[in-house]
Symmetry: none
Subunit: 230 residues, 4 copies
C-alpha cells in the first residue's frame, strides 16, 4: 500500500496573479503596500464568502471584514465577481500546475493520483474557508461561476485523464474504462468527500483526512486496475 507522501502544499502568493495577466505586462504597477491591501481584501473576502455565501454577502461586508472603506474594494477590483474569480484562479492554477508536475514525473500512475488527492485534501486542511469557497461557489455552482470557469475546470480533468492514459499505456490501468470517465470519477470522488466535510455530512479530523487520501485512490484505482482473475 502507498505510504503517505508530502503533498507539497504551497500558499497562493500575491505574485501568482501574474499568471493571469501574462508574464510581461501587469496592467498597473502596484506598490508593496498596495499589494498587501489587495491581499487583505482577498483574505477578508474568503472569510465572508465562506460565512455568508457569495450571493448573499454584500460588498460592504467584505470591506467591513477587511477593515477598509467601501469604495476601496473597487479600487482594487473591477467587480464583486472579479474577487471570486481571482480567488478561484489563484488556487486553481496552482492545482493545475501540481497535476501537470505529477504528470511529468516518472512514477506509477497510482502514486500520481495519490499525490493529487493528497494535495487537495491538504489544501482543505490548510485553508478550509478557501477550499469551501472554491468548491461551493465555483466548482459546484454550475449555474453561475462554474459555467464561467468551465474551461479552467476542464483543464484539470484533462490533465488527470492524461495521467490515467499513461497508466493505461503502461498496463497499470485497464483500458476498457475511458480515461476521461475515470478522471471524472476520480475528481468527483474527491470533491464529494470535501463537500461532505464542508457540510458536516461526514466527520473531518486529521485522521479522517489522511485516511480519505488512501480511500479515494484505493476505491477508484482498485476498480481501474486490471485484476489477476480477468
Amino acid at each position: 500500500m502507498s505510504e503517505a507522501k508530502p503533498s507539497g502544499y504551497r500558499r497562493p502568493e500575491a505574485e501568482s496573479r501574474s499568471q493571469d495577466a501574462g508574464p510581461e505586462a501587469p496592467r498597473r504597477t502596484l506598490s508593496k503596500a498596495a499589494i498587501d491591501k489587495r491581499r487583505i481584501i482577498l483574505d477578508a473576502a474568503v472569510r465572508v464568502f465562506a460565512r455568508q455565501g457569495f450571493r448573499t454577502c454584500r460588498v460592504s461586508d467584505i470591506a467591513d471584514e477587511a477593515g477598509v472603506a467601501y469604495g476601496l474594494v473597487y479600487h482594487y477590483f473591477t467587480s464583486k465577481d472579479e474577487i471570486l474569480d481571482t480567488l478561484f484562479l489563484e488556487r486553481w492554477n496552482i492545482l493545475i500546475a501540481t497535476i501537470a508536475e505529477q504528470d511529468s514525473r516518472a512514477l506509477p500512475a497510482r502514486d500520481k493520483l495519490y499525490a493529487i488527492a493528497a494535495f487537495i485534501v491538504d489544501s482543505y486542511a490548510h485553508d478550509p474557508d478557501l477550499m469551501q469557497v472554491i468548491i461551493v461557489e465555483v466548482t459546484r455552482a454550475a449555474n453561475t461561476f462554474g459555467r464561467t470557469h468551465l474551461g479552467k475546470i476542464r483543464e484539470a480533468y484533462a490533465q488527470i485523464a492524461e495521467i490515467v492514459r499513461k497508466g493505461q499505456a503502461s498496463g497499470e490501468f485497464r483500458s476498457d474504462i475511458t480515461a476521461e470517465f475515470a478522471a471524472l470519477t476520480f475528481y468527483g470522488a474527491i470533491e464529494q468527500v470535501l463537500t461532505g466535510w464542508i457540510f458536516s455530512l461526514v466527520p473531518a479530523g486529521d485522521d479522517e483526512r489522511e485516511q480519505a487520501k488512501w480511500l479515494i485512490v484505493e476505491t477508484v484505482c482498485g476498480g481501474l486496475e486490471p485484476r489477476a482473475s480477468d
Copy 2:
C-alpha cells in the same frame, strides 16, 4: 458482466404528491383542473429554470412559459423558492423510494447499485431539464437550496450506504472502505457524470448513457470488491 436492467423509471404524476401528505389527505383539496394548472406551471418552471437558471429567471418568465397570468403562480405556490422545492422533493422522494426498494430486494449488492445508477441515468434521459435543475440548482447548489435540503439528500446517501453495508456483510464487498465513504463516492460519480453531460464536458447519447451505467458501477465496485490477490 451485468446486462442492462429495466430501470423502472416513473414520471412524477400529480398523484405522487400524496406521497408526502399520506394517501388520503392533500393539504388543500384541489379540483382536477386546478391540479392540471399546477402541473402546467411546474413543468414550465422546469424549462425556465433549466434555460435561464433559478436565480436569473423571473417569476414572470415562468408565468409566460406556462401561458398563465403572473398572479396565478402565487395562487398555487407561496414563493419562487417553493416551486423549486416542490420540483426537487417530488423527484427526490421517488429516488429515495427507488433506492429503498432496491435495498429490500434479494439481489447482489452490485446489481442494486446498478439499478440505482440506471434509474438516475434513465431519469436524465427521460427529462434532462428536470434532472439538470435538480442537480444544478439543488444538489450541487450547496450554498442555497442544497443546504436547505441537506437532510433529504443525506437520506439518499444513507440508504445507499445501507446497501453497501449489506454487501459487506455478505462478503460481496470488502470492509476496509467504510460504507458511508463508498456511498459518497458512488453517488458523487453519478452526479459528476450527469454534470458532464449537462455541460457538454463529455458526449451524451443513448450509447454513452447505457455505457455510463456500467462504467459507474464497474469503477466503484471494482474497487469495493475484494480481490483474489488480497
Copy 3:
C-alpha cells in the same frame, strides 16, 4: 346633577340600509335569505376589521370569518371599501338621527348632551368591535375614510352645535364660546374617551362607562355654563 337616562340604544337593522339608497328604489330586490347572508358578511367584517384592521385584512379573511366563499363577498358588495362604508353609514345615520331626536326635545341642553354621550357610550358597551371600527377606521382615519365621510361626520357636529346654540339662546350656556367650537370639544372628548378604552389607555368597565357619561358632560358643560362670578 343629571340622573342616568335611558340611552335608547337601537341595533342597526338590515332595513336601515334603505336610508342610503333612498326610500323608493333599492338597486336590487334581495330575498330574505340574501339579506341574512349580507348581514352575516357585514358582521364578520366588523370582527375582522376590529381584529386585523381594515387595510391589513384581506377580503378572503372576511369571507373565511363569515364562512362563505371568496367571491360571494363581491356578490353583495362592490368593493372592500363599500363594506366599511356600509358599516359606518348604518351606524352613523342612527347617531345623527339620535342627535336630531334629542335636538327636537323640550329638555335642558345639558340633558340632551348627556343623552348623546350616553347613546355613544352605550353603543360601545353593546358592540365594542363596531364602535372601534367606526372610530379607528373611519372617524379617526382622517387620511382615508375620514376624508370620504367628512360630510356625514360634519353633520353630527352641526347638529350638536345646534343643541348648544339653543342652550345659548335659552341662557343655559354662555355665548362667548362659539357653538361650533363647543361641539368640536364635546364630540372630541367622547371620541378620546372611547379611544382610551379601545387601546386600554384607561380602564373600561360598567362603572367606568357610567361615570364617563357624567364626566364628559360635566367637564364640558361646566365650562360652557355661565358662572355666578362672571
Copy 4:
C-alpha cells in the same frame, strides 16, 4: 382673562436629534453635508405625506420632492416607515419636553395648560404640514402608527395629568374629575381643533388660532375649576 403668552416654539433642528441619543453620541457619525441631505429628505417627506398621505405616496415621490436619487432615501433611512417614525419622534419628544418644562414651573395650573395649548397651536401655525402629518398619520392613525407609538403618546397624556393633579392638590382644580380623564379631554380638544383646521371644518386664521388657545383652556378649565356656587 389670560393674555397671549409666547409659546417658545422651537423648530426641530438637525442638532435636536441628539436629544434622543444623548448630547455626544449620534448612532452614526454623519458629515455636515450628510446631515443636511437627511434633513432635506425629511422635509420633503413632510410635504409629500401631507399632500398625498403616507400610505398613498411612493418612496419615489419623496425622492423626487427632495431632488435626490431613489436609493439615497434608503441610505439614510431603513424604510418608509422609519421616515415617519423619525418625523413623529423628533417633534413629539419636543412636545413632551415642553410639557415637562411647564410641569416644573411655579405657575397656576391653568397657565401651564395654556402654555401647552399655545405651543401646539403655534407649532401648527409654524409648520402646518408637519403637524398634519403627525396628527393624521400617527396620533389619529390608531390602527397603524398610532399603535406603534402608543407609549410615547401616553407619555404626553401622563404628563398633562400630572399638571392637573398638582392643580387639584393646590385647590385650583376640583378633584371629582380624575386627572387622567381631564388630560384625555384636554388633549382631545386640542387635537380635535387642529383636525378641524386641517380639514377645513372650521376657519383657520391668525385670529382663530389665538382665540382657540383661550377657548380650549377656558372650556376645559371652566369645568375643572371648582365654582363658588358648589
